[in-house]
Point group: C2
DNA sequence: AGAGATAGATAGCAACACTTTCTACTATCG
DNA sequence: CGATAGTAGAAAGTGTTGCTATCTATCTCT
């Protein structure tokens, strides 16, 4: 197909596709003459992938390039690919040299029986979060982490099981990448839905308690 | 204190503080003369809050303004404040008019027994994620949501319980805001740690299976 | 009195993700 | 065959964001 069809079928403007080609997010089409190229289904799929990472995942162009690079890495261990993808997604992140926070984080991973990897992005961003929380005066925040860990253990199992459903290794790699990004977004959305629901339930319960016997009418809730 | 001390105690450059003052993220200091002002502990605290939202939460200046606005809203219901904060944090987000995805999302919230609020940001971003997942061909992705929901219910309880530990209503409001943002960041970090751990464990188990009786030596893992 | 800080205003800057414009072709429809 | 529309590739332009830099007219401290 030609670039116009690629554009039509994805809703991405032609100049933007050209931009992605320039940036190496999309491989060049097959040239049929010096100024004509043909694109195939792989281009279509790749373009949708890029858009998902950019629009839903909020990744920068550089991060997308990193993720795509991880997908094409000839060294094909899923475990390593996951690390590479997460590195690409998280990026540099804010480093923190707060020793107290560092120690809190270390004790946390110890409690979980996890490996202590002080140089991993995940660990460092955890340190940064803890440092910030302490700066602001959220003293009991570190105690929240254990609850998070319990829940994240289950999520991790589910995520990895899902990756294993992939038919081919290529598909698995893509699920790792896309599932991480879309999974983050989905988790965030579901978390907000769950929280709002519970918050509404509790707010209602409180009102009931204040004025009992008023009937269980659904109350107005913040519309956002 | 003067602006230089504010800068020294937070590590934020003076011009940046001035910028935040201009942008209304920080209230003006108390003028002692036309070109001298004094700042207090509240300024210090607010500045640290702003930095946490910007650096850890990755919020834009506009989003920070929105969150701070929610904190100062005279209408002081926690439930509503949570909605406002989330609106400020999530921002516009990618809308999607994909009807199939919309229907999937609707059935999902129904299954959970949650309210169907098609105009909430959370619902709409869920629709966008589902639409993207389908575009890319992740057919079984919607099935992942129920696992997420189970886990998010627990998180929501924990989060709300945490908010209730606040001494004053002001403090509770701040925990809502900061806890949402820092909580998201912490959850993301913990999730990555948990996933990496499990991935390493499984990769090791796989190797063991392939070459049994090789000893349980810790293997090299991707350094990121 | 003199060095250095400060408020407030304006302008500048680098990064980012496109978007526009251009030239020199090519495909295709009537 | 010619008119019209589409295309590759290069270069320059655009709007936004989050600061930085510079400036002036003060003020504070020693």
């Amino acid at each position: 197909m030609r670039i116009a069809e690629l554009s039509r079928r994805t809703g991405v403007p032609v100049p933007t596709i050209k931009y992605y080609l320039r940036e190496g997010l999309l491989p060049a089409g097959e040239l049929t003459s010096p100024n004509q190229a043909r694109y195939g289904e792989t281009h279509l799929h790749r373009l949708r992938l890029v858009r998902a990472l950019v629009e839903v995942g909020g990744l920068s162009i550089a991060a997308v390039r990193g993720v795509l690079g991880a997908l094409e890495d000839p060294e094909r261990s899923l475990h390593r690919a996951m690390g590479t993808v997460e590195t690409a997604i998280v990026g540099a992140g804010a480093a923190s040299d707060d020793e107290v926070a560092h120690e809190q984080a270390r004790r946390f991973v110890d409690r979980q029986g996890w490996g202590y990897r002080p140089d991993s992005h995940a660990f460092r961003s955890l340190v940064a979060v803890l440092a910030s929380a302490r700066d602001i005066g959220l003293d009991s925040f570190p105690g929240q982490l254990d609850g998070y860990a319990r829940v994240c253990g289950k999520l991790a199992e589910q995520d990895l099981d899902y990756v294993m459903t992939a038919a081919t290794k290529d598909a698995a790699m893509e699920i790792v990448a896309v599932g991480t990004v879309l999974g983050d977004a989905a988790l965030a959305a579901v978390r907000r839905l769950a929280r709002r629901e519970l918050s509404a339930v509790r707010a209602r319960a409180e009102r009931e308690e204040a004025r009992p016997g008023e009937g269980g009418q659904d109350c107005a809730e913040p519309g956002d």
